[in-house]
């Protein structure tokens, strides 16, 4: 995507799941607007028609029959619509987002700490080295066991790089406090909680350079806890992987 625009409304959506969110937002907001305008018209009409003035007095008997019943039923139906037509599909939608296991995914660990995002890739072998908080050090910020061979080709970077048109699973964890992994252009937010590992999946539909942010107050530097989010073409992604691999000092086989 060339020069994404950010303004006073939804940012661009470059994800396969984003439309579900955008569509629900649209439906709910039209529904809200209809209710609000309906109520508003009724209130203004009452204020004008029933304003206190000479020769006008209030009616003691409550309004009955058709009108009140219609309103009671209206309220019940509106609530029913919210529940059945909105909450249920929403449930189905979120199930699709989180429960369906995507095929041939790219798996990336995201490790949050005050105040940066670390992204841990499994390298050429596709297998992560053993992880433990006791292995965390300046040389190994992702906490990979130095004796585990599977971890020899693991690498970590401070920006999120993914290929376009391929599902990505991100396994989120945190070293210290609660952070929240937010990518507006993916319509995605998920807390990263110390002591837990939570997976999310998403898939990009366009290439481009965007941002990952932190959406949960995590301390002094919370506001600048952002990282680049780069969506590569499949070739571009492979080239980037090779470059990172070479930087580890491996000879290309």
């Amino acid at each position: 995507m060339k020069d994404p625009q950010y303004g006073w409304w939804l940012p661009p959506d470059v994800s396969t799941n984003g439309w579900v969110v955008d569509q629900l937002l649209a439906i709910i907001h039209w529904f809200m607007l209809a209710l609000f305008v309906g109520w508003g018209i009724f209130i203004i009409y009452c204020l004008l028609r029933f304003r206190a003035r000479e020769g006008h007095s209030a009616v003691y008997e409550p309004i009955k029959a058709a009108f009140s019943k219609w309103l009671e039923v209206g309220v019940a139906v509106a609530e029913g619509v919210v529940l059945v037509a909105l909450a249920m599909p929403a449930w189905a939608a979120i199930k699709n987002i989180t429960a369906e296991v995507p095929e041939n995914p790219v798996i990336i660990r995201a490790v949050a700490e005050q105040f940066k995002w670390l992204f841990h890739y499994s390298g050429k072998d596709g297998v992560f080295g053993a992880i433990g908080s006791e292995f965390i050090s300046t040389d190994s910020p992702a906490g990979v066991d130095p004796d585990d061979e599977a971890g020899y080709d693991d690498f970590w970077v401070y920006g999120l790089h993914i290929p376009v048109d391929r599902p990505v699973i991100t396994r989120l964890s945190s070293k210290d406090v609660i952070h929240s992994f937010k990518i507006p252009v993916m319509r995605l937010t998920q807390d990263a909680i110390p002591g837990l590992e939570i997976a999310v999946w998403y898939q990009a539909t366009d290439t481009g350079k965007f941002q990952v942010g932190c959406a949960q107050l995590c301390g002094l530097g919370h506001y600048e806890m952002k990282a680049d989010f780069v969506i590569h073409s499949p070739e571009g992604y492979q080239a980037w992987l090779d470059e990172e691999h070479a930087a580890l000092g491996f000879d290309d086989e």
Partner: protein, 584 residues
């Protein structure tokens, strides 16, 4: 006949001449305590609002020196007059804490509940007058601790009003002060809650059946139950967190924490989510504590100024009770993004949709009550009418947040800030203003100036919307809350214009309160006395002398009819008081 005995006791007290301290400071009279609560809460509200005005400067003009105030603040808060991120986080946490726990709740419950409830049910005082005094004192102590915490090393609490662990567990000592302050504030609310429940159940005047209670009293009764049942969860959580911080426990600290590159010394094994569950188990019912008394005031003001009975009084009461019950079953909709499974999130989405039904019924009843009225527009009525659409926006914008899928995008964005402020600021605070203008003549014996009141209303109405409507759009644009400088992100840069509108509206809102502040104090000194019953109202508080003496009623009132008997066909006037005035 319990009532009569109570009467006898209090009436004999009322003839004692009390010295200044007993009368104004250590008073056990519910009206004095109500006014003490009211003034203290209004001061805290204005203080909390001032903190926010400084934050709005940083948001609109990041990194620029704060005009005037910047020069007065110390090095730990500002750098050459420009705000430091640590100070911004303190302001954010303390703004929320002060507005909710030291502003709105004491005003809605402590002030209006204390002053109005005993009068409306025809009681001489609260059931436990000394407990009432103690409740106010605990509130003041808690409030002072909170304010002093700005002087702690590292400043005040800075982990948000939600104080999520582990961030709060490892925060500077201001957090310890926050926890101790909260323990006092919660203690105060618990004492108050017990007092309200006993008072409303036991001290109703003869003939005041439950379904003759004004809706405002019902709202206070349900609120008291919410406070009593929800606050202990946070009280316990606050003690746990205090122990984590001071005694080396790990209630909220998991194993294997690495903070700032150093392995944590805590033993671990705790859960950060435990705090969130305990906190929101309180804080969701707390939302209803913030709104229900406001609905109660609005119902009173609307009934009086439409000159007709409230439409659907009984269904409003049932909805209120149901709302109170359901508010304990929705807390985890604040936690959709903590990795909660589908079953759990489905449960909480459904309960959240269900809880919207009674709110819609109450709001609809209030709106339909306008039909067939003879509507007057004094200042309290303006605020009460504005409450309806403002609370409507607040409630409606809860819908996308209560459903997990849209919440995935909107969570922790400015949309959330806009949503709950619409409920609490132009919602509850407008209801509070309605109450102040409405009962001021009862409390002081003087009427407030109408023109100044109208000026105050219209300016507040415009600028309240000017602050919070842009936030909805910012949230949609993807700007996260609690950012010291949102322009770090391209979403924040894109929405910067909205931020500036919000900020200027906030400062203008502050100026709009000047007519109110002047009106509030100047009206007290007026020579001209207000009428005994200036709104021609039916409820019992208007059947007392103005201002009501110690002991309230010259003789026990006997209630003969419901609270909203306006424009009764064949009656002598368009209002039929609940109790015919007893001989003085």
């Amino acid at each position: 006949m319990r009532n009569t005995r109570h009467w006898g006791l209090t009436m004999s007290d009322s003839h004692d001449e009390l010295n200044f301290w007993r009368k104004y400071v250590f008073s056990t009279d519910h009206k004095t305590i109500g006014i003490q609560y009211g003034i203290t809460a209004l001061v805290f509200l204005f203080f909390g609002f001032s903190l926010m005005m400084m934050m709005r400067w940083q948001l609109a003009y990041p990194g620029q020196a704060i005009p005037i105030i910047g020069a007065l603040l110390g090095d730990t808060f500002v750098n050459r007059g420009a705000m430091l991120p640590e100070f911004y986080n303190q302001l954010g946490a303390m703004h929320g804490t002060i507005m909710v726990f030291m502003g709105i709740v004491p005003l809605a419950v402590g002030a209006f509940g204390n002053f109005v409830v005993p009068l409306q049910i025809g009681a001489a005082d609260m059931a436990f007058p000394r407990l009432n005094m103690m409740s106010y004192q605990a509130f003041v102590i808690g409030g002072v601790i909170m304010l002093l915490s700005f002087l702690a090393p590292g400043g005040a609490a800075s982990s948000g009003w939600t104080s999520y662990a582990p961030l709060s567990d490892i925060a500077t000592s201001g957090q310890t002060w926050w926890l101790i302050g909260m323990i006092f504030l919660i203690f105060s609310s618990l004492l108050g809650a017990i007092n309200f429940i006993v008072t409303i159940i036991h001290l109703r005047a003869e003939g005041m059946t439950f379904f003759r209670l004004p809706f405002f009293v019902w709202s206070q009764l349900v609120t008291a139950f919410l406070l009593l049942l929800a606050f202990p969860a946070l009280q316990a959580a606050a003690v746990f967190q205090l122990m984590d911080r001071l005694a080396g426990t790990s209630f909220f600290l998991p194993s294997g924490l690495v903070v700032g590159g150093e392995a944590s010394a805590a033993v671990g094994g705790g859960s950060p989510l435990l705090w969130q569950h305990l906190f929101w188990f309180l804080a969701h019912p707390e939302v209803y504590v913030l709104i229900l008394p406001g609905m109660g005031i609005v119902a009173e003001v609307i009934a009086i100024n439409t000159r007709k009975p409230l439409w659907g009084y009984r269904s409003m009461v049932y909805s209120l009770v149901f709302l109170g019950f359901m508010s304990f079953c929705v807390w985890a909709h604040h936690m959709f993004l903590t990795g909660m499974g589908t079953t759990m999130s489905t449960f909480f989405q459904i309960t959240t949709m269900i809880i919207s039904i009674p709110s819609v019924i109450i709001l609809s009843c209030l709106v339909i009550s306008l039909w067939g009225g003879s509507i007057r527009f004094p200042v309290p009525m303006l605020f009460a009418l504005a409450f309806l659409p403002m609370f409507g926006i607040g409630g409606l914008t809860g819908l996308p947040l209560g459903l997990a899928v849209p919440d995935v995008y909107l969570h922790d964005s400015y949309y959330v800030i806009g949503h709950f402020h619409y409920v609490v600021a132009p919602g509850t605070i407008f209801a509070m203003f309605a109450g102040i203008y409405h009962w001021y003549p009862k409390a002081t014996g003087r009427a407030m100036n109408e023109s100044l009141g109208k000026l105050h209303f219209w300016l507040s109405f415009i600028f309240m919307n000017g602050i919070f409507m842009p936030m909805m759009f910012e949230g949609m644009a993807g700007v996260s809350r609690r950012l010291f400088n949102p322009e770090v992100y391209n979403t924040g840069l894109g929405a910067h214009g909205l931020t500036v509108i919000s900020s200027w509206s906030a400062w203008c809102l502050a100026l709009s309160q000047l007519p109110f502040i002047y009106n509030f104090f100047a009206s007290m000194r007026k020579k001209e006395r207000a009428e005994e019953n200036p709104w021609q109202a039916t409820t019992l508080e208007w059947a007392t002398p103005t201002p009501p003496p110690h002991g309230n009623f010259p003789s026990p009132p006997v209630v003969e009819r419901g609270p909203y008997e306006y424009s009764v066909p064949g009656a002598a006037s368009d209002f039929s008081p609940q109790a015919v005035k007893q001989g003085v």
